[in-house]
C-alpha cells in the first residue's frame, strides 16, 4: 500500500464526512428555522402541487434566471446540466456491475464535460467583462470558478490526453466503500483531479454552494399563496398571542 493511497483514502473519508454531515447540518438549520410570514413572490401557485411544479421549473430550467439574464442562463444551464451528466457518468466508478442506463449515457457524459467547462468559462468571463458583475465578485467567487474549471480540465485531460489506469481508480474507490483498500495510480492529472474534488466537497457546506439546498427552502419560491384561506403562524409568533 503506497503512502499516497493512504493519504487519499483518508482524505476522501474526511471529505465525504464533512460534505454529508456539513450539508445535513445546514439543511437542518434551514428546515428548522421558521418562516413566520407568507412571502411567496406572486403570482404564485395556490396549491401544493403548483409549488412542486414551480420548484421543479426553477431547479430543472432555472426559470427565474431565464427571466433575469439570458447570457447567465445559457452559461449556467450549460454548466449545471453538464455537471449533472458528468456526475451521473462517474457513478460507474463506484458500482459494479455498471447498470444499463449508465452504459447508455456514457457517450453523452463524455461531451458533457466540454459543456461544463465551456459554461464555466462563460460565467467567469462575465465576472471580468460586465462591470456590474465585476463589482460584486469577491476573490472567492473567482476561485470557485477556477476550482470547478480545473476539475473539469483535469478530468478531460485523463479522458482525451493522458489516460490514467481507470480500472485501478475504480478498485481504489470500491475499496474505500468496502474497506478493502487498493492502490491509487500515481498519475499527475488524476492526483490534481482528486485533490480538487476533495477540496470542493470540503468547502461545499461553508460556501455559496449552499444555493443548491437553499433554493428548496426559499420562502418566496416554496410557499403556497393561500394566506387568506389558511392561517399561517410560526411557533414564536404564536407565543405573542398568549
Amino acid at each position: 500500500m503506497s503512502f499516497l493511497t493512504i493519504v487519499y483514502a483518508l482524505l476522501f473519508y474526511a471529505a465525504t464526512a464533512i460534505l454529508t454531515l456539513g450539508l445535513a447540518y445546514r439543511i437542518a438549520v434551514f428546515a428548522k428555522t421558521p418562516a413566520p410570514l407568507k412571502i411567496p413572490t406572486t403570482p404564485a401557485p395556490v396549491t401544493r402541487t403548483g409549488v412542486v411544479l414551480r420548484l421543479f421549473r426553477e431547479v430543472a430550467f432555472f426559470e427565474s434566471l431565464f427571466k433575469g439574464s439570458k447570457w447567465t442562463w445559457i452559461f449556467s444551464w450549460m454548466f449545471h446540466l453538464g455537471l449533472l451528466l458528468v456526475l451521473v457518468r462517474h457513478v460507474r466508478y463506484f458500482v459494479d456491475p455498471v447498470p444499463m442506463p449508465l452504459v447508455l449515457i456514457q457517450p453523452f457524459g463524455v461531451y458533457a464535460g466540454f459543456a461544463m467547462v465551456a459554461g464555466l468559462a462563460g460565467l467567469w468571463a462575465r465576472r471580468f467583462l460586465v462591470d456590474r458583475v465585476r463589482y460584486i465578485s469577491a476573490p472567492s467567487d473567482h476561485l470557485m470558478l477556477l476550482l470547478l474549471l480545473l476539475i473539469g480540465f483535469s478530468g478531460l485531460m485523463m479522458k482525451f490526453v493522458s489516460h490514467t489506469d481507470i480500472v485501478m481508480v475504480k478498485q481504489f474507490f470500491r475499496g474505500l466503500i468496502e474497506f478493502d483498500w487498493h492502490n491509487l495510480p500515481l498519475d499527475f492529472p488524476l492526483i490534481v483531479h482528486l485533490t480538487l474534488v476533495a477540496t470542493l466537497m470540503i468547502i461545499f457546506p461553508f460556501s455559496k454552494l449552499l444555493h443548491a439546498p437553499g433554493v428548496f427552502f426559499s420562502p418566496t419560491r416554496n410557499q403556497v399563496d393561500n394566506p387568506r384561506e389558511k392561517r399561517h403562524i410560526a411557533r414564536w409568533a404564536k407565543k405573542l398571542e398568549e
Binding site: 434551514f30 418562516a35 456590474r132 458583475v133 463589482y135 460584486i136 455559496k208 444555493h211 394566506p227 387568506r228
Partner: protein
C-alpha cells in the same frame, strides 16, 4: 418643471442600464428619528454604547426567527441576474443600489461573525467587521430600497432584498438608529389611529364634508359613515384617502360603489389607517400591534366583512399577513375572503352587472395603469394567480373607453416601483425618489408620446403621493395620476336614492346582498 438641486435623469426611449459610478448616492440618508419616536416603538432612543454587540445579537436572533433571512444570507452566488433590475440602480448608477450589493452590505458582516470562512479568511470571501462606517452605510443604502421585490422575480433562488432591508432596519432600530419618517408615523398610529395624526372628530368633519360635496355633485345622499355599529362592511383605507388628491376621489368612489351595491358600511376612527409601516421597519411586533387595531375595530363595530381601500404595501400586509398577525377572523362572514380588496368588491359587482356605468364620463382621458409593486409581487386578488393584474384592469376598462398598457417589461410582475415605497416617501429622500422613478417615468413617457395617454391610474396611496410630487420633475403634470376608484366614481350612475340603514331593514339592501355573493368562494 419642478426645481431640483440634483440632476434629474433624462428620459430616453429605452430604460438603459447605466455603467456603474461608485458613491453617487452615498450622501443620501433620511432624517434620524428623535429618541421619543424610537422609544414609542420599544426601541432604544439613541445609539446604545455596546451597539456592535447588540446589533450582532439581533442579527443572530433574526436569522433564527426568519428562514428567509438565513437562507438568503447563505445562498447568493453573485450571478448578477439582479444587478440591472432595481429602479434605484437604474436611476442613480450607484453600484450599492444593485440588489446583490445592497444585500452584501449586511451579508459581509454576517460572514465575518457567523461563518467559518469569514472568521478565518475575511478578505477571501469579502467579509468585514461591523464598524460605525458600515452602520452608516447601512443607514444610507437600506433607506434606498423600497422593498418592491422586483429583484426577487429574477433571482434563481428567489432572494428578496426586501427581506434583507427589513432585517437591516430592524437591527438598526434595535441599537437606537431609527428613521424619523417611519417611526414617527407608527407612533402616531398607536396614539391617534392613523399615519397623518387625524383625530376622530376631524375625520368625522372631513367625511361630512365629503357627503356634502357628493350630494352637491350628484343630488344623491351617499353616506360616508364613521364608527357605525352593526353594519356589513368595515372599510380600512389609507388615511391619505381622507384629503389628499387624487386619493380622496378614490374614497368618494368607494362610497358610491357601496351605495350602489346597497351594502351598509363604515370607517373606523380607531383603525383609520390601512398602511402598516411596521412592515417597512421589519418589526413583526410593531406590524402585529398595528394590525390588531383592525381586529379590535371589526369586533367592536360588529361588522361581517373587512374591505381594504387602494393601498399597495397595505394590501400586502392585509392580504398576506393580516390572518397571521391578527387572525383568525372566524367571527366574520365566511362567505367572503378576509380581507377583500375594494377592486375585488367592485369587480364582483361588474360580473353581475350590478352597476350602471357611463364610460363616456372618462372620455377626456386616455388611461394607463401602474401596477403597484407590492400588489403585483406580494399579493393576489380574486382566486387565480395574476388576478392582481387582471382585476384592476378589468375595473378600469369597465369604466373607461380609452385604455393602453405600458411596455410589457414594465408592468405585471416586472412592474417598476413608483420610487417612493417602503418608507421612502419623505422629502428628505427626494433625490432618490426622483431618480428611482426614472424607469416608470420612461415607460409612461413612451405611452404618452406614442399612444396619446393622458393619465395613469394607480391603486396605492404611496404611488399616488409619489407621482403627484415626482411627475413635475419630469415635465409632466401632477394631476396626471388618478385613483382607480376615481374613474369608477366618474362613470358610476347613482340609481339608488336611499341609503340602506342597516342590513335587512331596507328592501334594496336585502335584494343587493342576495346578488352580492362572492366569486371567491
Amino acid at each position: 418643471m419642478a426645481k431640483a438641486d440634483f440632476e434629474v435623469p433624462e428620459l430616453k426611449e429605452y430604460i438603459e442600464v447605466p455603467e456603474i459610478v461608485e458613491g453617487t448616492m452615498a450622501h443620501s440618508k433620511p432624517f434620524y428619528a428623535a429618541p421619543q419616536h424610537n422609544t414609542d416603538l420599544g426601541f432604544p432612543g439613541e445609539l446604545v454604547d455596546n451597539w456592535q454587540e447588540k446589533a450582532l445579537e439581533k442579527m443572530d436572533d433574526l436569522r433564527k426567527r426568519y428562514r428567509s433571512f438565513q437562507v438568503y444570507l447563505d445562498s447568493c452566488v453573485k450571478c448578477g441576474a439582479c444587478t440591472d433590475k432595481c429602479h434605484y440602480f437604474l436611476g442613480t448608477s450607484d453600484p450599492k443600489n444593485m440588489p446583490v450589493a445592497r444585500q452584501d452590505l449586511l451579508r459581509k458582516v454576517y460572514r465575518r461573525y457567523f461563518t467559518l470562512p469569514g472568521k478565518y479568511f475575511p478578505n477571501l470571501v469579502g467579509a468585514v467587521d461591523l464598524t460605525k462606517d458600515v452602520l452608516d452605510e447601512w443607514y444610507s443604502y437600506y433607506h434606498q430600497c423600497s422593498q418592491c421585490r422586483r429583484c426577487s422575480v429574477f433571482c434563481p433562488y428567489g432572494i428578496d432584498t426586501a427581506e434583507i432591508s427589513m432585517a437591516a432596519r430592524e437591527i438598526m432600530d434595535s441599537v437606537g438608529v431609527g428613521q424619523k419618517y417611519c417611526n414617527e408615523i407608527i407612533a402616531k398610529v398607536f396614539k391617534i389611529g392613523n399615519n397623518l395624526g387625524l383625530p376622530g372628530p376631524a375625520l368625522a368633519d372631513t367625511l361630512e364634508g365629503l357627503e356634502e360635496d357628493v350630494f352637491d355633485d350628484t343630488g344623491v345622499a351617499v353616506k360616508y359613515p364613521l364608527d357605525k355599529k352593526g353594519v356589513d362592511i368595515l372599510l380600512i383605507t389609507p388615511s391619505a384617502d381622507f384629503f389628499a388628491e387624487p386619493h380622496v376621489d378614490g374614497l368618494i368612489g368607494y362610497g358610491k360603489v357601496f351605495h350602489e351595491a346597497g351594502v351598509s358600511w363604515t370607517l373606523s376612527s380607531k383603525a383609520s389607517e390601512a398602511a402598516n409601516f411596521g412592515m417597512f421597519i421589519g418589526s413583526y411586533e410593531n406590524m402585529r400591534r398595528v394590525s390588531l387595531r383592525i381586529r379590535e375595530a371589526a369586533l367592536e363595530l360588529g361588522v361581517k366583512r373587512i374591505v381594504f381601500g387602494e393601498c399597495g404595501h397595505a394590501w400586502r400586509v392585509a392580504y398576506s399577513f393580516l390572518n397571521t398577525l391578527a387572525g383568525p377572523f372566524d367571527f366574520l362572514d365566511p362567505n367572503y375572503p378576509v380581507p377583500q380588496h375594494i377592486c375585488e368588491f367592485t369587480y364582483d359587482l361588474l360580473q353581475k352587472n350590478a352597476l350602471t356605468l357611463d364610460k363616456s364620463e372618462n372620455d377626456d382621458m386616455t388611461l394607463t395603469f401602474h401596477d403597484s409593486c407590492n400588489v403585483a409581487r406580494a399579493t393576489r386578488m380574486g382566486d387565480k394567480p395574476g388576478g392582481q393584474f387582471e382585476i384592476p384592469r378589468a375595473v378600469i376598462k369597465a369604466v373607461c373607453n380609452n385604455y393602453v398598457d405600458m411596455h410589457h417589461e414594465t408592468i405585471g410582475e416586472k412592474t417598476f416601483c413608483c420610487g417612493g415605497g417602503g418608507g421612502l416617501l419623505t422629502d428628505d429622500l427626494m433625490e432618490v425618489r426622483v431618480k428611482g422613478a426614472m424607469p416608470r417615468m420612461t415607460a409612461l413617457n413612451n405611452v404618452i408620446q406614442d399612444e396619446g395617454v393622458t393619465h395613469m391610474a394607480a391603486i396605492c396611496a404611496i404611488c399616488k403621493s409619489q407621482f403627484t410630487k415626482v411627475l413635475p420633475y419630469y415635465g409632466m403634470d401632477m394631476d396626471q395620476i388618478v385613483s382607480v376608484h376615481q374613474l369608477v366614481s366618474n362613470a358610476i350612475q347613482l340609481t339608488r336614492k336611499t341609503e340602506p340603514e342597516t342590513p335587512g331593514e331596507v328592501e334594496g339592501a336585502e335584494a343587493a346582498s342576495e346578488t352580492d355573493t362572492d366569486a371567491e368562494e
